[in-house]
Chain length 369, copies 2
Amino acid sequence: MMQPPAVAMGVRLRVLAESATGSAALAIHEAPVGDHRDLATVTAFAAQCDVLTFEHEHVPGPILEKLVADGVPVRPGPAALGFAQDKLAMRRRLTELGLPCPRWAQVRTFDDLSAFAASLPGGLVLKTPRGGYDGKGVLLIDELTGDRAATAREWLEQAGPDGLLAEEKVAFTRELAALIARSPSGQAAAWPVVESTQKDGICHEVIAPAPGLTEEQAVEATGVGLRIAGELGVVGVLAVEMFQTADGSILVNELAMRPHNSGHWTIDGAVTSQFEQHLRAVLDLPLGEVRARSPWTVMVNVLGGEYENLYRSYLHVMARDPGVKVHMYAKDVRPGRKVGHVTVCGDDLDDCLARARHAAAFIRGDIDE
Amino acid sequence: MMQPPAVAMGVRLRVLAESATGSAALAIHEAPVGDHRDLATVTAFAAQCDVLTFEHEHVPGPILEKLVADGVPVRPGPAALGFAQDKLAMRRRLTELGLPCPRWAQVRTFDDLSAFAASLPGGLVLKTPRGGYDGKGVLLIDELTGDRAATAREWLEQAGPDGLLAEEKVAFTRELAALIARSPSGQAAAWPVVESTQKDGICHEVIAPAPGLTEEQAVEATGVGLRIAGELGVVGVLAVEMFQTADGSILVNELAMRPHNSGHWTIDGAVTSQFEQHLRAVLDLPLGEVRARSPWTVMVNVLGGEYENLYRSYLHVMARDPGVKVHMYAKDVRPGRKVGHVTVCGDDLDDCLARARHAAAFIRGDIDE
């Protein structure tokens, strides 16, 4: 999704692809296949680039440190990226900065965990500090007994020397996301704050802007995003996922330092998409306008479901609603895998929601009329 | 510019490229280099495609006829395309259909031309029926004497057996364009009619929708476009360039059967761009919504000018106006060559015009502040 703005801006992309048939390799001309965890591979790849950036946060820190030492512009840099790679480091840093977080503890033993659980009014969430995504590496524990306690023990045994991150289970009323772009020269831009809905730990739906968010709340959420971007030295796009609680206050949930699912709405819905902005930011070009192009934009993910081949249902959606923008990712369809998204922009939120939800559900095969 | 919507729709593009370093070859993965005038080359290329379409009208008719005979879906088909390739055939057909054209004549000799000139109140325009574009192959003759007469004689001598097309010089007040998409199954869609301004025979600026166009005039211009698309059996995007005269009436000027410069505004300015729509049409997919996304969209071409390298001026424009969308074509800069375009969308036409004109002029180097 970075390729279209790259073409328009005259920026040439090369991608270190996981496989020759992956989405990135299909869309980008120069797509050598290689392992992003291998120093020699990444070094050889980086030698052909002016700037190195990422579509995920999984390139190991030591490799990035080595590249920086060799003079390669790595954006975001390993210091910033470390906070997206390691949730314990992130919680520690945000707490130092006085930013609003759920109560949390670093737990190495079951006793640590029990003590933390006992300090909480409700349940907790156990997280592997590294490598989790889309709900993986996250264990919800309402009561630290039975099966959950057994699984927690297993996770603790398998954890590295840093142990695990335990967080209070926040009684949130909804989730918000602040999307920020920041360039090496310090210019920053913040898109309107959105509401996101997860299903089974996976982003399901995004509404831009977040309905009913007060000006004050929007300023607060945006301010937290901008402060994190600045203090952590983020370059490129930063997504800050947040919980909003019943009293309207916010708590930071997760960080992503790359174009993020909560920002896919910007492709059709904002003057500058997160993908264009990420390129502008990592190339230290002036940032583009982040204004929404319509009063409302709704993005709904298309997950693999009923159908192995989505072509016929996709066709139906195109015919039924010529105004829905469907983005398919050229990925093999597996149940629960994100294989595309749909976006609807308009003046009426209920209309946008109904159309986007219908289109996504129909393509997936949840409904057939 | 067809690649971004192709990626989003999961459509795989292959292009028969003029050179390995051309814009299309840079943007599209599978881009064998070859001559579009060579039957064997085009046949071998077409064998790897499900549907064949065009970014220009210069593939010879006999090659297209051969492909159709071999069962290749060629869209638009050679019969329709013939009217975009041959201006005499176009004038003849539109006149048969009773569609509004400037007065015209097929001229083989200087006597033919003199007789036609004598029948006109004002000047005339002499055109080579085939191969002209961007003002090439067009001779403006206010009086058929001196140098102009000598050049006309030369053109007539060099013309093929069909001679040349002579048209009255229309005293137009402005130029309009109707942009239509039509699919093989006959579904058609028409974007808002635009006003276009030419400089030296090259499209310079497009305003969508055409300011001050009455509902009646818009319906008429759109109707002419739809009628041409249907009667000529066009598949894909059709641009109908028109003159509007002082009394508000319209006359058809030229046809293009492909995404056209007068439709570049749709990339940023319409729900469905002409490039996405062209793909939908030639693949016989349902057409997308053609509604404008803002009250006004202004597109200004960036022609090669003062600067050989546009990077610094491009950078300045990005910094000065974060809301301007700049599209560069990755072409070597030569004076007068279209190397990109800029688009500004908004609520205020004067503001959009000023910003788009400034950006294009600044990138080109006509102004430096």
